[in-house]
């Protein structure tokens, strides 16, 4: 359906409770349609000029309570790349018997200017597509008709949530700029919610009571586009939004407190039958545990590690991150597989039964993001811990190669909550504190053609070991040697490693190599870089600017010790200069030391980054730091034939 618009002729217009100027559905000016680029972000392909939502509850008993949310979106499309914003996807919870979320009163229109006349093309029934994605989610996708560069798209609809579990996040930030985001959240006095702000943008709240409701008036203006950066843990941690948590229910509902602080959240979880009660059970593993105990370990740590090895070996992670038990620990144990909560709670329970002071640590994975406030939804993972010799030691048995205090990457995320039997908890840092070290020992010979052959021994500890073994695990067809060859552009032979040795704490591999093509021969002189194919070829930081923290994941040290011999009738005419860099605040360091002793050249370099996460203010310093390192790694030794 298409209308040409004269001011005021739009019968569908309805007003919205905007504080400043009234924005009416379908009412735009020619100037707005003529705008060619976003005034603050000229490169934006589209923008959200206005987003409004009004959320309120209906129903008076727990059984008939529903949440209604009225949404209004006004998009501006600047160019063809922005046409993707002409497909608006509404994700909805799907339940059996068709009683999941549903959409009502959807109205949309595309407003365009043609020959100085404003046209409105309405979204019709056939422009909305309902797709059942899987058993839990369906989407309704609105495809705006007749998109043009410059078009303004208005969309309003109501989502009805007949089985409220929580309030949806009020999102203020998108991959395109948002000029104004407003929300009115009406919370009836029989429910108590608490609001939290996520992200780095200013969001204004005006909270007041009216009738039976507490009303949150939320306003955010000029929110810049959210852009992905490299070395970032999870961009969702930075998205500007308002997140609500249900704290309490009151009369006429049963009065129930649902969590105010971490103390109470952890207590609620601990007390629940799927958590604390499960932890108390021990019969299902007692036979197996007896066998382990029969070894009479003299050292407690050895015993703990034996139990850890047993659970790692027995249990297979089914890929689901969760803090709750679904099938019960006993069933999971019998099936030899389970989610992260099940596996690490079995481990915790076995530790306890063996006499350790063992506790579960609630946490969230990197993909899941960092919890912004105390809530059960903030968690999706469990790690096991024991307190031994005055220290907390962490274990994660979901990964076959993990070690004590060496957690898989997914679990390395901010803090965890260590929950004790007496219902108290403590914060525990999940970022590794110990340096993970990767050390390469290289012994090589340079020949007259500039070809370099020799041997390498790599030794990796902690997180490096875990990462390498994860890669190696995929190597059933012996493609690992091949991928090393291809990656380094070398010929490789006699690759051996110790990865069969389950008790090894460091991963070790050795191989022989031949590297051609790496040296330059100019006028009879041979130029070669002593860091060879192991050098860092490019700066990991290329962008000029940085918005969000830099995530190095774990503190690490990379070391190369190399020894070169040169052909007998050659002499060294140039050695690179040694270099020592110390990063401000002791965040990183680089040492490059090279010397000649008799007819051999010795190089040692060490690059250390000491933190897991670093503030963006250090970005330009890190960029310059790595640039110096890359240049140094490219520095060359020159050797030349001795003239007789």
């Amino acid at each position: 359906m298409r209308f040409s618009l004269v001011i005021g002729a739009f019968c569908l217009a309805f007003s919205l409770a905007a504080q400043t100027e009234k924005i009416q559905f379908g009412v735009v000016t020619k100037e707005q349609l003529l705008e060619k680029q976003h005034p603050k972000d000229p490169e934006a392909e589209a923008a959200i000029l206005y987003k409004y939502q009004k959320t309120y509850f209906e129903g008076s008993t727990l059984t008939n309570l529903i949440i209604k949310t009225e949404y209004f979106f006004r998009y501006k499309i600047y160019n063809k790349k922005g046409f993707d914003w002409g497909n608006h996807v509404i994700p909805l919870v799907r339940r059996s018997n068709n009683n999941g979320d549903y959409v009502k009163t959807l109205t949309g229109t595309t407003l365009t200017l043609e020959n100085d006349t404003i046209y409105a093309d309405l979204v019709g029934r056939d422009n909305v597509f309902n797709q059942a994605v899987n058993s839990y989610i369906r989407t309704e996708t609105v495809t705006f008709p007749n998109l043009k560069e410059g078009a303004i798209l208005d969309l309003s609809y109501t989502i009805i949530n007949p089985y409220p579990v929580s309030l949806r996040d009020v999102v203020h930030q998108f991959p395109i700029p948002v000029d104004r985001s407003e929300a009115d959240i009406f919370i009836p006095n029989y429910l108590v919610f608490k609001a939290y702000t996520k992200g780095f943008e200013d969001i204004h709240y005006n909270v007041y009571n009216k009738d039976i409701n507490q009303i949150y008036e939320i306003t955010a203006t000029d929110i810049p586009a959210l852009k992905e950066e490299e070395y970032i843990n999870n961009i969702e941690n930075y998205r500007a939004s308002t997140v609500f948590e249900l704290m309490q229910t009151r009369y006429p509902f049963p009065t129930k407190k649902l969590g105010y602080n971490w103390e109470e959240v952890t207590r609620t979880i601990y007390k629940s039958d799927y958590f604390g009660d499960e932890l108390k059970k021990s019969r299902y593993f007692s036979k197996d545990l007896q066998k382990i105990l029969a070894n009479n370990y003299s050292d407690s740590l050895q015993l703990a590690e034996a139990i850890f090895e047993f659970v790692k070996e027995k249990m297979t992670w089914n890929g689901n991150a969760s803090f709750a038990t679904f099938q019960g620990l006993s069933d999971a144990y019998d099936a030899n597989k389970g989610n992260s909560g099940e596996i690490n709670m079995i481990l915790t329970a076995m530790f306890r039964e063996a006499g350790f002071e063992a506790n579960p640590v609630l946490s969230s994975t990197r993909d899941y993001g960092i919890p912004v406030f105390p809530s059960m939804q903030g968690f999706n993972y469990v790690i096991a811990s024991i307190f031994l010799n005055g220290q907390d030691i962490l274990f994660d048995a979901t990964e076959k190669y993990s070690l004590k205090n060496v957690l898989p990457l997914r679990a390395i995320n901010w803090n965890g909550k260590l929950m004790r039997k007496n219902n108290t908890y403590k914060e525990i840092n999940l970022f590794p504190e110990d340096l993970s070290v990767s050390r390469s020992l290289l012994k090589a010979e340079v020949d007259e053609n500039g070809d370099i052959r020799g041997s390498i021994e790599n030794e990796m500890s902690r997180q490096f070991m875990l990462l390498y073994l994860a890669v190696k695990k995929m190597d059933y067809q012996n493609d690992y040697a091949k991928s090393l060859e291809d990656f380094y552009n070398i010929e490789l032979s006699e690759l051996t490693d110790n990865h069969e040795d389950k008790t090894a704490t460091n991963f070790r591999e050795n191989y022989q190599f031949l590297s051609e093509n790496q040296a330059d021969i100019i006028d009879g002189k041979i130029y070669f870089s002593p860091t060879m194919f192991l050098k860092m070829n490019e700066n990991p930081f290329k962008a000029t600017k940085r918005e969000y923290p830099i995530d190095f994941v774990f503190p690490k040290s990379e070391i190369l010790e190399a020894e070169f011999s040169i052909p007998e009738d050659y002499k060294v005419t140039y050695l690179p200069k040694s270099l020592h860099l110390k990063f401000v605040d002791d965040l990183a360091s680089y040492d490059y030391e090279i010397k000649q002793i008799d007819d051999k050249i010795f190089l040692k370099y060490e690059l250390t980054t000491k933190r897991s996460v670093v503030a963006p203010t250090y970005y330009s310093l890190f960029k310059a730091f790595f640039e110096k390192i890359v240049n140094k790694q490219n520095d060359k030794i020159i050797i030349e034939k001795i003239k007789s």
Binding site: V133, K148, K473, Q477, N517, I522, N631, I638
Partner: protein, 641 residues
């Protein structure tokens, strides 16, 4: 109860009992896999049986059994326990069982434990294809999965093909395939790559029947044909078939195309009068090709690509009048709409079905008349009856330019009088051209400043011209990746020009680099080829098994003028080189100009083609040489004062 009945029920009980115990173990153990099938395999298909019964041209039953032993977690992807379905498919049976490495029964998985999900193609906002699949997490390897399924459907336009080898890293112990016709139904069989494989054709006049035994696993290799290009396969199509509620026919491409035109396209050609008038005004007084270009630009300006696939709508375009009203559609809808507009403009054009994709130029198989293709483009015959191709789903491509998405492959042209197989435009290696001209100045401290101008045509144009749509930040990071061998590169300014008329893209980039030359012992060493280095070399294979396939050729020419730093003179210049071989040619030279500057000239022509596997090493050596010459260095010495 009579004694006889007693005996019967006892027998019955016994039968049930044996059945139940039969479930307890199977003879497929890890031990009895022939060693040759373990090599390179992450999974072994022990038995694959597909039995298709053709009840009529619009009714078929497909019954399958698949037993696969998974050796390790990389093999899990070969569980392949799934059924795709839509409203025209009845799933009659679906069940899976798991056995351990010794063939002992572990568990049974019933239909309700399979996951039911929309079969997302990644682009459609709606499609009614769904999938029921099993995602089983094993607790130990190896294990064996037995999957039985049966479905019945009225859609016979697509008959499950037979792939006796299921992919890379998987071997097959036994596989069989049969189609039984309950009534004679004229059909065609296409066999591909069966030679050199242990495959038996046991077909009779009433049935299609194939068997294969002991096919070893293959490992991927670089610069090789794709798996589907090499895989053994048997396909069957009916002359008369049914497609989601619509009858279809064709035993020649001519008939098949005629059916498509009459039954799928004709009804969609219903452009409203007002739009016809609009187009006529738009093209008034223009020549045929000028008019076609205007129409294409009109479509690009007024529509966008949105994919919706419902029922036969997966093959039948949405009406032109609908696209006209909504301003969007999928490839079929937009192509059909453009065709309707071309009709209104008095320009003949043909809806053309193609396999799209830049990585593999897949032909519509000329010897196998059947539903094929995954995309639709439009062909417009020019004055000399040569086809000009346009992709109506793109809002940015120049008129007559389809790039590497649909170039150089056989397509089905749907004409009102019938179908015809023709080939799309081919971009010769010489057409995929890049010219880079640069002038740069080296400073005594090793830094560099310069101006680079890159012109691209053909598929190289295609790789580059969408740069205009990116933000400044994205452009900057593009160049930093493009020249990733330049450490500390700064991009000072970027000017881009997309000439859609001549299909030439021009990039002008002002660059700087703090450490372009390395100061070694008082000498400056630098690589004269700053802006078009090949740094990667094809991987080495100790035993190459696959032919060498070079997919799309290209031609680059580079001219860089280099200003040397004050106070330095040439210590050493690399000597130029010229290489010519069956894969192409490479040359570079350095000349000293009277004004003290240097000129670096480079040219590389990479041809396309398929070469025997023995040639792989020679090609690798060629590229190794190229990368070495590209990295050749100049040494500058301080002038003696």
């Amino acid at each position: 109860m009579t004694p006889l009945k007693n005996t019967l029920s006892a027998l019955l009980l016994l039968l049930v009992a044996t059945n139940a115990s039969a479930q307890k173990s199977i003879s497929y153990t890890r031990q009895n896999i022939p060693e040759a099938l373990i090599v390179n395999a992450n999974a072994v298909v022990r038995l694959s049986e597909t039995n298709i019964t053709m009840h009529s041209y619009k009714d078929m039953t497909v019954k399958s059994k698949r037993i696969v032993t998974i050796l390790n977690d990389q093999g899990d992807r070969y569980q392949e326990a799934y059924i795709g379905y839509d409203p025209y498919v009845d799933i009659e049976f679906l069940e899976a069982s798991i056995y351990d490495k010794n063939g002992q029964f572990v568990k049974k998985i019933k239909r309700k434990e399979f996951r039911d999900q929309s079969y997302g193609d990644g682009v459609s906002i709606y499609n009614d294809d769904r999938i029921l699949f099993l995602s089983y997490t094993p607790t130990a390897y190896p294990y064996t999965l037995v999957f039985d399924s049966e479905y019945r459907t009225s859609t016979t336009a697509f008959i499950e093909a037979w792939y006796p080898l299921g992919g890379m890293y998987v071997s097959t112990q036994k596989s069989s395939y049969s189609i039984n016709f309950e009534q004679p139904l004229p059909h065609r069989i296409k066999k591909s790559n069966l030679e050199n494989n242990p495959i038996k054709d046991l077909s009779t006049p009433q049935s299609v029947q194939f068997e294969a035994e002991n096919i070893a696993a293959v490992k991927p290799e670089g610069f090789a044909p794709t798996f589907t290009e090499m895989a053994p396969m048997v396909r069957v199509a009916l002359n008369k078939f049914h497609l989601k509620g619509v009858d279809g026919q064709g035993d020649t491409w001519e008939d098949f195309g005629k059916w498509m035109y009459d039954d799928l396209l004709m009804a969609s050609n219903d452009l409203p009068e007002a739009s016809k008038v609009k187009i006529k005004t738009l093209v008034a007084g223009k020549s045929k090709m000028e008019a076609a270009k205007l129409v294409y630009e009109y479509v690009q300006e007024n529509t966008r690509y949105v994919s919706v696939q419902i029922g036969v709508g997966g093959w039948k375009p949405m009406k032109a009048s609908e696209v006209d009203r909504l301003g969007y559609g999928d490839c079929k809808a937009l192509t059909n709409y453009t065709k309707s507009l071309m009709d209104a403009a008095g320009v003949a054009s043909y809806y053309s079905v193609v396999y799209a994709g830049a990585n593999s130029k897949k032909d519509i198989d000329e010897d196998f008349v059947a539903m094929q293709g995954n995309h639709v483009i439009l062909a417009i015959p020019d004055e000399d009856d040569k086809m000009v191709w346009i992709d109506c789903t793109s809002q940015v491509h120049p008129f007559g330019f389809v790039g590497d998405f649909t170039d150089d492959r056989k397509v089905l042209l749907v004409k009102p009088e019938g179908g015809e197989i023709v080939k799309t435009v081919r971009y010769d290696p010489k057409d995929n051209y890049q010219k880079t001209e640069a002038e740069y100045r080296l400073n005594p401290d090793g830094s560099m400043t310069g101006l680079v101008e890159i012109q691209t045509r053909g598929t190289q144009y295609n790789d580059r011209f969408t740069l205009t749509q990116r933000t400044e930040l994205e452009k900057e990071s593009h160049y930093k990746e493009f020249w990733n061998y330049l450490n500390g590169l700064q991009i000072n300014s970027i000017a881009l020009e997309n000439n859609k008329e001549s299909v030439v893209f021009t990039e002008k980039v002002d660059v700087g680099c703090d450490s372009y030359a390395t100061n070694v012992n008082g000498e400056l060493i630098f690589c004269p080829n700053g802006f078009n280095q090949i740094t990667s070399i094809p991987n080495r294979y100790r035993d190459r098994t696959m032919p060498l396939k070079l997919r799309r050729g290209y031609h680059d020419e580079d001219v860089f003028r280099i200003h040397l730093p004050e106070g330095y003179e040439i210590g050493s210049l690399p000597e130029g080189v010229s290489l010519i071989n069956p894969f192409g040619k490479y040359e570079f030279e350095l000349t000293q100009n009277p004004d003290g500057t240097l000129t670096y000239r480079r040219e590389i022509l990479r041809k396309e083609g398929v070469f025997p596997k023995e040639d792989y090493e020679a090609y690798r050596n060629f590229m190794k040489d190229v990368s070495r010459y590209d990295a050749a260095k100049i040494v500058l010495k301080k002038k003696r004062s």
